[in-house]
Symmetry: C2
Subunit: 104 residues, 2 copies
């Protein structure tokens, strides 16, 4: 986790990849938790003995590679941030339509 992670440039963010990243309930929940601001990984994806670490890591990887979140060093931890500016610029209205709802 100490190495620099790759994030796609704004112009390289693809709509279909964003939709796919948000199409899984577990991944969508992570994005929803970041709607109001950045969170430490531990706060955003709480330790859950029933969830394998690989599952959690994979969810973050899919969201990051699609351009939905940034996963960056923050002291000894890592900080997750929703790429709202980039996504709003590329796909106006999409994040609000997807994350704005309390249900589902």
């Amino acid at each position: 986790m100490g190495t620099e992670m790759v994030h796609p440039d704004r112009d390289a963010i693809e709509l279909t990849q964003v939709l796919f990243a948000l199409s899984d309930p577990g991944r969508l929940e992570i994005a929803r938790q970041l709607r109001d601001g950045s969170l430490d990984v531990a706060a955003c994806v709480p330790w859950d003995p029933s969830m394998p670490k690989a599952t959690k890591s994979h969810r973050l990887k899919v969201l990051r590679e699609a351009g939905v979140i940034r996963n960056e060093p923050n002291g000894r931890n890592r900080m997750l941030t929703l790429r709202r500016d980039d996504l709003d610029a590329r796909f106006p209205g999409l994040l609000d339509a997807v994350l704005g709802r309390a249900d589902t």
Copy 2:
């Protein structure tokens, strides 16, 4: 193809399933073609010798089961319709955000 196909009720349409259905370029293209009105299957998904019939059928099935399109008899053919009213009611702004763009 002569049997009645199942379509989820409006209230049963799930956001994650809609996002998944639209996350494939081939399926997204079908939805985009229906943006301005219903089309015969043959007009919406033109015969393409490079595309197996099973691929075309599967795309329509995923879109229908997610609640994105209706696939209904129309004389000897079948008509595809975007479920705009249902999707706009369930997820305001989503279709416009996803289908409103010419690129991707």
